[in-house]
Symmetry: C2
């Protein structure tokens, strides 16, 4: 059965039936607007859109995977402010011949990823469109803390990351060359595992700045440098290349550091901390903040594959 056959309202009913309200959901889907708790009188809010062919392919990812990725991209943005995600709103644009089952599994993926952080889908919209598009807005709770911005890095701070670097990019390269393994890297592309808890934990550890790595480590640290008016020096060897990744890179004739330094889509977090911060948990130091501008790797400007720019 296609969504053209169920119609807009039929599809909405089916999707709502699969959704379980999280603790912050005061009024869920089905009215003109949802109502979400914002206990400290503020709400963090971010929007990210996934377009078929650009951000995902239905022959590479299941609907559950696409849902998880759409949720992950947005939930990670909330975590990168030091906030705890509370709710998602989802606009689905889809061709009428889309299978209802695909839309339901997309909803399952969104719901499953939300459940990891105690959030839930509280509302949305559905429209027909020739291009399958999933626009998601995430809301979050700063729990009384100040938002951790991109602009607070200071010379002398250490640079640290939490989460995987380059795994999703490696998986993407593997799929684009027509392979399906190593499975762990392919799965990392299909279903990123952002270090959600590291966001609020980083804020508590005194992070002076933080950013979600969606365009690639060097590119996103470049945004952070620009916002903070500082330079960042990375040490390449501090960025781990796991054996599976170096094996795959060798087999494909690729420099694995192009994945690690320029690959987005893992939704790792990068942050700066005072030099004396006692980093625990997932945070690991990979560099230093200096006076100046731009990002260097082992003392040189990084000239690899570079970040991923839209429209170019």
């Amino acid at each position: 059965m296609t969504i053209g056959e169920t119609g807009e309202f039929g599809l909405i009913s089916r999707i709502i039936a699969r959704t379980v309200a999280g603790p912050a959901c005061l009024l869920g889907p089905g009215d003109d607007a949802a109502v979400v708790a914002a206990p400290d009188g503020r709400v963090a809010a971010s929007t990210d859109v996934l377009v078929e062919g650009r951000h995902f392919r239905r022959d590479w990812s299941t609907a559950v995977d696409v849902g998880r990725r759409a949720a992950a991209a947005n939930l990670a943005d909330i975590a990168a402010m030091g906030a705890v995600p509370t709710a998602l709103l989802v606009a689905l644009c889809a061709p009428p011949d889309l299978e209802v089952r695909w839309a339901e599994q997309l909803a399952d993926g969104l719901n499953d990823e939300c459940a990891l952080v105690g959030a839930s889908v509280v509302g949305g919209d559905i429209s027909s469109s020739p291009t399958l598009t999933i626009a998601v807005t995430a809301l979050g709770d700063l729990r009384g803390g100040e938002p951790v911005r991109r602009s607070g890095a200071r010379p002398g701070d250490v640079v640290a990351v939490a989460g995987r670097l380059g795994w999703a990019a490696a998986g993407h390269t593997i799929l684009s060359r027509g392979f399906r393994s190593p499975r762990k890297l392919v799965e990392a592309h299909r279903r990123p595992e952002p270090p959600y808890a590291a966001g609020p934990a980083g804020a508590r550890l005194g992070a002076t700045s933080m950013i979600d790595i969606s365009d690639g480590l060097v590119a996103d640290l470049g945004h952070l440098c620009e916002a903070s008016g500082v330079a960042i020096e990375l040490t390449r060897d501090a960025c781990e290349v796991p054996p599976q990744m170096s094996d795959a890179a060798a087999a494909l004739g690729v420099d694995p550091y192009d994945w690690v330094l320029a690959g987005g889509d893992d939704h790792a977090l990068a942050a700066t901390f005072p030099a004396n911060a006692d980093l625990t948990g997932e945070w690991r130091v990979i560099g230093r903040v200096r006076d100046g501008s731009g990002v260097t790797v082992d003392g040189k400007l990084y000239e690899g594959a570079g970040g991923w720019a839209h429209f170019r």
Copy 2:
């Protein structure tokens, strides 16, 4: 110049430069997430998407008009809960050959409509896509009141509307027949004027239920009946047909009540109130709530053009 030439970040800078933060914007565009005030510890949130060819045509509407409509559709949903809109987040998907000027004017339209209610665009995302798509999420402040849901209508209540009925639909019919006037009706399609203030005012007047009319008066009151478990009896003559509309309908061989009863896109508000409510301002009574189910007009089930369903 096209957005393919400026690239994602160039376009974002240009759009941010045109945006003025509203009073609820605690942290605006440019970071991983925005932060918006939610003074009473709750936030109302709603998402609505506009797809080219389905919801707008670039040869019928300017970019400013499309921006205003995209904002209006979302701000009206917030008003329909009895809340005051505070912020918008906007995901723009566009082909690389879109003129930068068009995107800038879209932003102007979004900003202008927001300014009517003291809200502002606080964040967004941009992606390339073959289909021009604008997904908007609106946030709002309930100011300590209970959200006015669709489910609270009780037998004996009066049914009232605020805002224009059928004007946008009339404008749409006029444009689709190749005409450009009467200008007032065409403008109503291009740029709806939702009665934003009537939402919170209706809540204060004791509205027992409320809904944004986006699918058409009868269709949306049908949703309200279903949610409340009641019937609604409308009086056709209580729904005004202005002279320009009846003239246009006669010229086009159309029943003007198809516009008034089935036309969406004006984003009027419909609400139910206790029979003794002292309705002021824009609210005007057009019917009654009864026991039963469904919507009747002058005692008969409405069998006109009907609401507008996606995918069918």
